[in-house]
């Protein structure tokens, strides 16, 4: 299955953060690569999974329901917004 760019989940991220974070820079815990959230690789399965384009480390996971959302950002060792 192919992936999309991080920009494709701009809507759900903005809902979570209250602002556009596609231009935020994140550092991958797997390989240290720093890149804008808009450029990470996004997969849609049972939830949203985003991975580092360099090492495939899971950067974030999002599960959305009608009234709840779960977010795991542990793949980023830091996010500069």
């Amino acid at each position: 299955m192919t992936h999309l760019d991080g920009n494709a989940i701009a809507g759900v991220l903005e809902q979570l953060f209250g602002r556009d974070v596609t231009l935020a820079s994140g550092r991958c815990t797997g390989c240290g690569a720093v890149r804008e959230v808009g450029a990470i690789h996004v997969y849609r399965s049972a939830g949203i999974v985003a991975r580092c384009p360099d090492c495939d480390t899971v950067l974030l996971r999002i599960v959305e329901t009608r009234d709840r959302m779960w977010l795991d950002l542990r793949g980023f060792s830091s996010l500069q917004v």
């Binding site: 299955m1 599960v63 329901t65």
Partner: protein, 199 residues
């Protein structure tokens, strides 16, 4: 409920045969959903391992394919709301695999190429409820659907039927897997609509 869009009919349809769990829609497609890039493990490097027993038990692809197999037809239910009836699979029953392992563990974690994991009670993997499937609809399982082999546990939501499975890790304590640690229900019974934490 959102604004109804006049005339929109999705791919899914309802069904009143009693075969459709609550909140699901029937589809004739087989959507591909994946949490990452499709792994491509050459068969000569593929192994399936059961750990956590008295000692690890491992099969190479040839050894795995020499085990007795079963052909089953099952309905499958994805937590993203699509269900597909009468899907045909061929695989090795997990009972067949676990018979060869000396253990008394209650829980298992399935682990896969690409790092995906999912957890199940051993009881849900045994008694004819689960297979390691290598063929779908009479053909070898395609990589995008989990080939060369995936776990098949049709009585639970399909995120438990882990693609690209490479083994089971048996343990005394339950350890939530990839989705179970991020909002999805720890058990996942479609008939009780156990999609998310707290359901």
């Amino acid at each position: 409920m959102g604004i109804i869009s006049r005339g929109f009919r999705g791919r899914g349809r309802g069904d009143d045969s009693g075969r459709l769990p609550p909140g699901q829609y029937v589809t004739d497609d087989f959507p591909v959903l994946s949490a990452g890039p499709t792994p491509h493990t050459p068969l000569d490097g593929w192994t399936f391992t059961v750990e956590g027993g008295a000692e690890p038990v491992r099969w190479t692809w040839e050894e795995f394919r020499a085990l007795p197999t079963e052909t089953v037809t099952k309905d499958i239910h994805c937590v993203t709301k699509w269900s597909k009836f009468d899907t045909d699979w061929e695989g090795v029953s997990v009972d067949t695999l676990l018979e060869r392992v000396d253990h008394d563990r209650a829980y298992a974690v399935a682990f896969c190429d690409g790092g995906y994991t999912t957890n199940l009670p051993v009881e849900d993997l045994t008694g004819g409820k689960a297979w390691v499937a290598f063929a779908y609809d009479g053909e070898p399982l395609e990589p995008e659907h989990g080939g060369p082999a995936r776990l098949l546990v049709p009585h639970l939501y399909f995120w438990k039927s882990a693609k690209w499975v490479r083994g089971l890790s048996l343990r005394d304590e339950d350890e939530p897997g990839f989705w179970e640690t991020n909002g999805y229900h720890n058990y996942g019974d479609p008939w009780r609509e156990q999609r998310y934490w707290g359901d």
